[in-house]
Structures are given as structure tokens and as C-alpha cells.
Symmetry: C2
Subunit: 104 residues, 2 copies
């Protein structure tokens, strides 16, 4: 019984390693308390960097760096509206993951 299952797993590993890398990258993007907080905030109601910065009480450049990582990972997108840029979470898997982990 174990032989078949392990064989399947082995094939699965080889075939899907790129997939694991992609998902790991996404997870890495939210595996930080500030970024998790930012994502949660954006899920609850999109807002701009200044607002997030005030919430977290961090230097502007720190927040911007975290925003940048989330953007690079494809988790959030921003649209400019005048001086401000409004971000929102565009990765539905990540929305599900964050809701799953925070709603206990």
C-alpha cells in the first residue's frame, strides 16, 4: 500500500516543484507581521499608504518597502487617485488564506 502512494508523491514532487516555488514565494510575501497586517487591512477596506503607515506607526519608507514586496508578489495592486494610491488585494487565494488564519 505504501509503494504506490510514495511513487505518486515522488512523481508529484518532480512535476510540481516550480509550483511549490511559486506558492512559497506568495507565502513568503505574507509571512511577516506588518505585511500580514497590511493585507488584512486592505481586505477589510482598501486604503492608501499614509493611512496604513499611521495604523502601523512605522516610517514611510518601511511601509513602502513592504507594499512593494506585496506588489511584486502579485498580491496587491494600486491605482493612483490624485496624490494618493489606493491598494487592494487581487490574489483570491491569499484572501482566502488570510481569512482562514485570522478568523479563529
Amino acid at each position: 500500500m505504501e509503494g504506490s502512494s510514495l511513487e505518486n508523491h515522488k512523481i508529484d514532487v518532480e512535476k510540481n516543484f516550480k509550483k511549490y516555488e511559486k506558492i512559497a514565494d506568495k507565502l513568503k510575501a505574507i509571512a511577516h507581521p506588518y505585511r500580514l497586517c497590511i493585507v488584512k487591512g486592505l481586505i477589510d477596506g482598501e486604503c492608501n499608504v499614509t493611512t496604513i503607515q499611521e495604523c502601523l506607526n512605522l516610517p514611510q519608507s518601511t511601509v513602502s518597502q513592504h507594499i512593494s514586496k506585496l506588489k511584486s508578489a502579485g498580491i496587491i495592486e494600486g491605482r493612483r487617485s490624485g496624490l494618493e494610491i489606493c491598494y487592494r488585494v487581487v490574489d483570491n487565494d491569499i484572501i482566502d488564506v488570510v481569512k482562514l488564519l485570522l478568523n479563529d
Copy 2:
């Protein structure tokens, strides 16, 4: 409309920062392609380190280090059975997250 929502978020942030840290630590534990692969393998059918090592084609100490991190994070537990140690995933949230992310 925005004032109240943002106030709530601010309070939420302060109140739940420890929670964000804990969850971020869990996510960090699985935010690595090898460890994701190990967790997925253990979800599909628990097995020992040697088997995992053969699947991933990595040095034994590398696998053992990753196993160790998952164990420290409370994601897996092992029980010895003779020479082998069988690990299994004991964190149900993580099981849900991994299934969610890999079953697309």
C-alpha cells in the same frame, strides 16, 4: 464612512499584533519550496525522513533541518517507530492552507 472603519482597523492592529506575529511565524515555516513539499507529502501520506529525502534528492542534514523547523513551528510531530520516525501534520489551519493553495 471611512473614519469608523479605519478607527476599527487601528484598534484591531494594536490588539492583534501578537496574533499577526504568530501567524507570520507559521507562514514562514511553510514559505519554502522544500518545506511546502514536505508538508504536502506528509498530508498525502505520512512517511519518514529517508523517504522524504529520496523524494527531494537532498542531503540528509538539509531535510532534517527543514523537518526541525516545521517541528519547532508546531506544524508537524514525529513518533518514533524503531529506527524510523514518522512525521505527520498536526496543524489543521496549515493543512487547510496547503490544500487551498495546491488544489487549483
